[in-house]
C-alpha cells in the first residue's frame, strides 16, 4: 500500500493550502506535521530535507519535495488533473499561475502592518475583479463547458475555486458581475471530495490571524 503523503508546514494556509486543496480534491488522504517551534524547524534543517531551508515540504513517493509549485505540478500529473496533452497542460499552467499569484498576494498581506495590509487587500480585490476573474468568466463563456480546460475537471478548476473563496473572504460580493463564475463555484463545490473538504473538521485551514503570524515569525525568525 502506498504511504500517505506527509505535509510539513505551519498550522495555517500560507503556501501549503493549494497543496491541501489539490490532494483533497483528488481524494487523497494525507498526514500533516505542524511547525510550532524553532526547534522543530532546526531539526528539519539538520535532517537535510529542506533544499533551500524552506517549507512547504511534502514527502511523497520517496521524495522530499519543496517549492510549492513543484509539488503542485507533480501532484496534478500524478492524479490526472493536468490535462490530456501538452497544449492542455499549457493552458492549465497559465491559469494556475495567474490564480496562484493572486493567492500568494493574499498570504503575504497577512504579514504587513495594518495600513499596508488594508492597501494590499484593496489591490487584491481590484486585481481579482478587473484582471483575473473577467478572464475566467470569458473562458467559461467562450466554450460553454463545465470546466476550464478540456471539458474535464483539472487542477485549474480546483485552484480557481480556492481563489474565489479566498477573495470572497475579503469582499463578499466579488462575484456579483460574474454569473458564470457563480455557477462554476456552486458546481465545483458540489464535487463530493471538495464538498467534504469544505465541511468543518476537514484539513482545510482558516484565514491567517495574529497567532498564526506570530508562530511563523518565531519559527522562521523574521
Amino acid at each position: 500500500m502506498e504511504a500517505k503523503p506527509k505535509l510539513y508546514y505551519f498550522q495555517g494556509r500560507g503556501r501549503m493550502e493549494s497543496i491541501r486543496w489539490l490532494l483533497a480534491a483528488a481524494g487523497v488522504e494525507f498526514e500533516e506535521e505542524f511547525l510550532e517551534t524553532r526547534e522543530q524547524y532546526e531539526k528539519l534543517l539538520k535532517d537535510g530535507r529542506l533544499l533551500f531551508d524552506q517549507v512547504p515540504l511534502v514527502e511523497i513517493d520517496g521524495m522530499p519535495l519543496t517549492q510549492s509549485r513543484a509539488i503542485l505540478s507533480y501532484l496534478a500529473a500524478k492524479y490526472n488533473l493536468y490535462g490530456k496533452d501538452l497544449k492542455e497542460r499549457l493552458r492549465i499552467d497559465m491559469y494556475t499561475d495567474g490564480t496562484l499569484d493572486l493567492m500568494i498576494m493574499i498570504a503575504q498581506a497577512a504579514f504587513k502592518p495594518p495600513k499596508e495590509k488594508e492597501e494590499s487587500y484593496a489591490l487584491i480585490v481590484k486585481r481579482a475583479k478587473t484582471r483575473y476573474f473577467p478572464v475566467f468568466e470569458k473562458i467559461l463563456k467562450d466554450h460553454g463547458e463545465d470546466f476550464l480546460v478540456g471539458n474535464r475537471f483539472s487542477w485549474a478548476d480546483i485552484q480557481l475555486l480556492e481563489a474565489i473563496l479566498m477573495v470572497e473572504e475579503l469582499s463578499a460580493p466579488i462575484l456579483s458581475d460574474f454569473p458564470l463564475l457563480q455557477a462554476f463555484k456552486a458546481r465545483i463545490s458540489n464535487i463530493p471530495t471538495i464538498q467534504k473538504f469544505l465541511q468543518p473538521g476537514s484539513q482545510r485551514k482558516p484565514p491567517p490571524d495574529g497567532h498564526y503570524v506570530e508562530v511563523v515569525r518565531n519559527v522562521l525568525k523574521f
Partner: protein
C-alpha cells in the same frame, strides 16, 4: 513585417522590452535548445496598450510569446512549454519534479536579481546585499551540493535540462553584480564552463546574439515609462 515572416516560418516571437527582465530566462532556454526566435520590443506605453487592446495578453501582462499558433503568457507556463517541447524537462514525472524544485529555487533568486535595476535608489543597496547573501548562503551552496552528491555533469538525470540552463544564466548574472560570488563553488564553475561550451549556448554567449546586457539607465527609463 518581420513578425509575419517569423510566424510563417514557425519561429516563436517574443514580446517584451529590450531588456533582460522576465524574458531573459526564455531567451536562454530557446537559445540553448537551438531554436531561432524573433523579438518585438515594447518601447512605449502605447506598445503595451496595443497588445492589451487586441486581446493578446491574457492577464494584461508581458512576457508574451507567440508560438505554435498560440499567445502564451506567464513566464512559468512559457518555460514549461518550451522545456517539454525541446526535451529539456527530464525523462519522467519524478525527474520533472526535481527539475521543477531546482527551477523554482532559481526563480526565487531571479526575482531579487531582475528587480534590482528597477528599484528606487534607496532600496538598491539593501536588495543587492540580499542577493549576495542568498546566493552565497542559500542557493549556490544547494546546487553545489547537488552536483557533489552525484558527481554527474548535469543537475538531473545526467542530461542537460532547463535547470542547468537557468542556473548558468543566473551564475553569469549574479557574478556581474558580485564578482567574487563563485569563488567557493568549483562545481558550479565547472557546470557553467561545460554548458557554455555547448554549441548553441556558445553561440548565444557571443556578442551580437539576442542575449541582453545588464540593464542600463536607458532600459530602466523605457520600462518605467511603458509600464508604470
Amino acid at each position: 513585417e518581420n513578425q509575419a515572416i517569423a510566424v510563417m516560418a514557425g519561429k516563436p516571437v517574443l514580446h517584451y522590452s529590450d531588456c533582460r527582465g522576465r524574458m531573459e530566462a526564455v531567451r536562454w532556454l530557446l537559445a540553448a535548445a537551438g531554436v531561432e526566435f524573433e523579438e518585438k520590443f515594447l518601447k512605449t506605453r502605447d506598445d503595451l496598450e496595443r497588445l492589451r487592446n487586441d486581446g493578446s495578453l491574457m492577464f494584461q501582462q508581458v512576457p508574451m510569446v507567440e508560438i505554435d499558433g498560440m499567445k502564451l503568457v506567464q513566464t512559468r507556463a512559457i518555460l514549461n512549454y518550451i522545456a517539454t517541447k525541446y526535451n529539456l524537462y527530464g525523462k519522467d514525472m519524478k525527474e520533472r519534479a526535481i527539475i521543477d524544485m531546482y527551477t523554482e529555487g532559481l526563480m526565487d533568486l531571479d526575482e531579487m536579481v531582475l528587480h534590482q535595476p528597477y528599484l528606487p535608489k534607496e532600496e538598491k543597496e539593501g536588495n543587492l546585499a540580499k542577493i549576495k547573501d542568498k546566493s552565497r548562503n542559500r542557493y549556490f551552496p544547494a546546487y553545489e551540493k547537488v552536483l557533489k552528491s552525484h558527481g554527474q555533469d548535469y543537475l538531473v538525470g545526467n542530461k542537460l535540462s532547463r535547470a542547468d540552463v537557468y542556473l548558468v544564466k543566473l551564475l553569469y548574472h549574479v557574478e556581474e553584480l558580485d564578482p567574487s560570488v563563485l569563488a567557493n563553488f568549483p562545481l558550479l564553475k565547472a557546470l557553467r564552463t561545460r554548458v557554455s561550451n555547448l554549441p548553441t549556448v556558445k553561440k548565444f554567449l557571443q556578442p551580437g546574439s539576442q542575449r541582453k546586457p545588464l540593464e542600463d539607465e536607458k532600459c530602466v527609463e523605457e520600462v518605467m515609462k511603458a509600464y508604470i
